[in-house]
């Protein structure tokens, strides 16, 4: 298990040698900045720059509200909506950013008006998506290219003291079933 865990860190850090940051600019628009390190061609492919790309996020239709979808996502984070050790594919991530069909969400984001602002509960929900000890988490929601409504939570970017990871989000819950095996007995009816 330990071996697997080390492999996982090694793998994730090598595939993604870029860091992500989101800010609300002075013009009150949201911007995603991608910094590429080392020999990564990610930024080159994204915005033809070697080190940094700045993407202005588009709007997210009905993200600020209490609609069924956003309500479900925010309330089920870390429960039905969770991560495994599966890493998000780098090419898919590039395509997501290039198409600008995403919106980012952090635990203290103004998009979340359902949970109390700055509550520990929200922070814990986001934290539970990453491995223990993550410093910050950015959730990427995939949007419809047609009307920019939310399709699904896609991946989470986790930042640790000594690296980052991009994890695939699973919208199917982790369930446990108990199997009963008594079919050898005669039914009573």
């Amino acid at each position: 298990m330990k071996y697997f865990f080390l492999m996982f860190i090694f793998f994730s850090f090598n595939v993604f040698s870029q860091t992500i940051e989101t800010i609300w600019r002075d013009d009150l628009k949201k911007e995603l900045s991608v910094s590429c390190k080392g020999t990564s061609e990610f930024c080159q492919n994204l915005c033809s720059s070697e080190s940094n790309c700045y993407l202005e996020e588009g709007i997210c239709r009905s993200c600020i509200g209490t609609g069924l979808k956003i309500n479900y996502i925010l309330s089920e984070l870390g429960r039905s909506i969770h991560t495994s050790e599966e890493i998000y594919n780098s090419d898919s991530f590039l395509a997501l950013l290039k198409n600008n069909t995403f919106v980012t969400l952090r635990s203290n984001d103004p998009y979340n008006i359902i949970d109390a602002y700055g509550s520990i509960k929200v922070y814990k929900k986001f934290e539970s998506l990453c491995r223990e000890g993550s410093l910050s988490q950015i959730l990427f929601l995939k949007l419809s290219p047609v009307d920019r409504s939310i399709i699904r939570p896609e991946l989470v970017y986790c930042e640790y003291e000594n690296g980052v990871s991009f994890l695939q989000i699973h919208s199917s819950p982790d369930l446990e079933t108990t199997l009963l095996k008594f079919s050898f007995m005669t039914p009573i009816y």
């Binding site: 628009k29 509200g65 069924l68 089920e76 429960r79």
Partner: protein, 828 residues
Amino acid sequence: MKLLMLYFLVTFVHAKEWARKDLDFKTIDTMIHFDNRASCATKAKLPTESVFLIVDNVNMAKAVYRLAKLRGMDPVKTTNTALDKFNQGLSSLVRLISDKLLSGDLALIDDKKLDDRYLENNWGKSFSSELEKKTQCNIVKKFSSLYAHLNVTKPDKVLIQKMAEDLSNIEESFISCDSIKGNHFSEISLFQFDVKFKQHTEIDGFRFWYSLKVYLSWAYRFSPEIQDVMRPYDFIFRNVDLEEMVLFFSNGCKSISAPECTSHNLNLNQLKLLSEEASSFDLSSYEGLKPIAVNPATDLTSMPLPLREDDLLNLGDQVSASDWVSNFRGNVLKVRGAQKLQLTKAMSQIFLINKVKSPDDLEKNISEEIILNPDGYKSDLYYLCSEYKVATDRNLSFLIQDLILLKDDQSIKESYSDIFDQRFDESFIRFQSLISKINDICLKLDGNGYWNNSLEVKKEGFASWYQQLTTQKNNFTLERIVSSHFIPLKPVLKFKSGEVICYSAIHCSRILLDSMMTISSLAKSMSTLSAKKAVISTNMSNPYSSHIACGAYDPWAKKNKIIFEFFHDLIQGVAFGLLPSPVYVSVDLEQKKLVSFSSLIKDGKVFYDPNYDPKKVHLSLIADLGPLAGIPCALSISGSRMNPLEYYAFNGISFSGCHNNSKVEIEANSAEEIRSSGSRKNYCAACAINLQTMSSSVSSLNPVLRFSFFLIKGVTRLFSNLRDPHDLHRNWSLSSHQIALSYRYHGEISDQCAKDLIKGRSCLPKKCEGKLLEEFTKKFHASPLESSFSCLTGKGVVWIKECQEPIYLSNPRNLKIMTDCHLKERIF
């Protein structure tokens, strides 16, 4: 010119000083329409020209507040500025879309064209350089007497006086949207938009409002104009779920959308129930939150028709408009919140159980559980079998019909697939398969006498919907819990985190049924729960909108009945006059009566199809034998228990018998109690001992007098019927401008003045003066102080607050003005 002015001055030396010249004359030119029940119901089929828009600013304010905190800005100041910007932007966008549609610059749309690209394309083509401002926008401050048409049938002197006073302080009732800046909006806003559909134009009012709602949904997010108006907050504003924040409703009896007998339409009309005072509003007994919600059409057959004065919108309960909207919003929010929780939970449970347990798995597991612990699961099995039996047997309940509709309900399907990326109809088919499997298991258990031994069953152990159906229980907790009687060591399904979904396959199956029942109940109010591509609207101001949509009230029925009765009386009079012995033929017209509704699905929408008792004509025949046979008895034969002898002004004792197949009923009543019992019999016969010998007296008269007697009776009945205040069409229109002008002139509204205003005339002493001043003040910002007119010449002079010089007016048909002053024209 100067000579003409001199002529005027000489002619009008005795100018009348206006009584309330101290008041600012800020009236608006609008007609306020009052309708009684029949008239209001008829108007439900017409498109409105005035709508209210409720805007819930809370979500937007929360987001801006958080953004300001995140960026280290002053959160309170930023939020207040943003509120102004938001309301300014939204109201100007509504006006822009409305003006574009009215001018034909922007294409009207129909149902099928909701594609964003289509809307974008249309919007791109609509760039008229000079767009005429045709849409009036106001912020409603108070539901003053100027909104009395919402809950008053007929205006009277007291009301008109109050209206005149409120018109003098019009800014207490509403202010123009142009003065939004610095208005400091609170958590909610209420706007009023007024348009005018010119007659003989191609604009279909219902299509206009529909297009406005769809374009608003799109343009709010994507039009360049909105970005300019709302900057720098435009980005965060455009992320807001606009559809859940705003609601249009018509101002008055006319409708914003064509009345249809659909679940969607009826539900939206039911929103009026949420205007109840919040302190007395009980969420747990709210129909839309009950485990089995009654179909909204049911009320139409069971509840009596309301009166306009019943004030179903509870406008009289709140001091200011913002209090009313705030109260309404509070209730809507509570209901929506609870409904969303219930819906999401029910859908999640279906999704989770279906994910790991097929109907075959559940069937197999239930069999295994019975074998494993036949006594332990006995109570749970009893609950399971009872619930499935009652829910799915057509002879025991109507529930299965509602459940079957779910499969094709578009709004449920969309919501489910939106959240779970899975089709609802697939889950439903699995559920249908489970129903037959469980019913089979239960049938076998029944056959084997499984329940014969001792069994512990409690009323509280059943699912809430079952309790509602089988007991008189009316209040339920909002959280639906299906508890398991037997708790096994290892639950059959749980999250890896440990949270149990269901303890056993029996429990899982009960949860599945309960979840379907919850969705079925909530499906009846889905239209108020989620809206996507268009802002929602309701005709809730008209209490008869749903009745008209579903044919539950015929506003012409009374009129038809009166005409029918009058002609019947005339014919009866002729027959009575010509025949030697009085023969009376009574024909009673019984209108068709709504008895129930059938639910059906069409294009994913739930429709209610009304079922009627057909229109019936009851014939009765009376032959007064008195004059011929010398006995004081009038013999009547009729198809109903309705006694035609009442028409004789009969006051005696009657003996009657009715034959219905083999059953004969004999009744003896005193005359005052003789009334139609409503029960229908095949034949009825009555012999009435006529103590007052009225019929004999009448029959002894000559034919002309006999005819006249019945003619007078017929006319008397006609006039008596015509006094019906509710079910014969009556409406009154008051001009706000005429009221304000009359009040300013006289200083009060007298009885005669009120009558004149109701008839559509201002009550200035001279007719020509009223007409000229009306035209003049409608066109210009002018507050008359003194005036003098001669109707012989059709000319007059008026002194106004806004100008030092006198103004000369002539030609009431085509107003002509002579003045050196620069007069400011009114826009609306």
